[in-house]
Amino acid sequence: MPVLARWIEKAGIPTVVVTMMPNLAKAQLAPRIVGVQFPIGHPFGMPNDRKMQRQVLETALTVLAKATSFATRVDLNIEWPQSTDEAMKAGQPQEPSPMIAEVRSNPDLLRRGAKPLVK
């Protein structure tokens, strides 16, 4: 996704990436980044918490419009209102994805050709 942002930006449209993995987005050179410490699958926050969702989007739009230099990053200071265990559970699929199942049965896959997966 950070590289998709770069391709869209190259086409002339400004981008901001809202992400649970801002360090990865930075390493992959996304132009503008908003980081959130949320579980996988939840970039704008808790289901039905419109206030939290709006706060994240407002921050993203502000960074989109106001950032003046490449690699601008703002991390949001929002505590996730669930325990770490609950948050892990909220993010992970009920059964391992086909590729993860494959890697577990054949760890050699990690050593050849593995690349940053983007969820």
Binding site: I8, P47, P98, K115
Partner: protein, 169 residues
């Protein structure tokens, strides 16, 4: 707050993501040259959302058969879409919360609120949905770079998007 990318990920993911060289090098920059209150913005989610009654879902059946393959197509989602009209196809995240409230991945309602309050000028008529699992090997990115990304950029330009908020899930 210091964010730990791996806080909510199983341990094995660290080796998948950490210390990977950047796919591309160098700066890219497009100037955002409007006041936000007069700008039109688009959303892009990688949650694999599609319109239940009108669009084919992302092809997770092929991915089940070929785990190193990921669907690189995209869908356009009208801004006034009801949450109940959205289906999700994504084998790498838990779908329950996105189905319960798609705004956590594609914040149509929060954006409508911010347009109504005047914080931002408007939303594009349609937003963009992709399915974020791109496949396993580096050449899987070729189709994204050569076909999907240019098609998405064209669609956003046709809709006069002044900027886009991307949210990987």
């Amino acid at each position: 707050m210091k964010i730990d990318d791996y806080k909510y990920l199983p341990r094995m993911y660290r080796s998948l993501y950490e210390n990977k060289p950047a796919i591309e090098e160098g700066k890219v920059w497009a100037e955002f040259d409007k006041h936000l209150s007069r700008a039109r913005v688009a959303l892009l989610s990688s949650a694999g959302l599609s319109l239940r009654s009108q669009q084919p879902p992302f092809d997770v059946e092929r991915e089940r058969r070929e785990p190193t393959w990921g669907d690189a197509s995209y869908r356009l989602i009208p801004r006034a879409t009801e949450p109940s009209e959205l289906a999700i196809s994504h084998l790498h995240i838990r779908n329950d919360d996105v189905l319960a409230d798609p705004n956590i991945a594609l914040p149509l309602a929060p954006l409508a609120d911010l347009v109504e309050s005047g914080f931002v000028g408007g939303a594009t008529a349609e937003h963009v949905s992709v399915m974020g699992y791109q496949g396993w090997y580096d050449d899987a990115l070729d189709r994204w770079r050569d076909e999907t990304a240019p098609a998405i950029a064209r669609a956003l330009k046709e809709q006069d998007a002044d900027g886009v908020v991307l949210a990987p899930v």
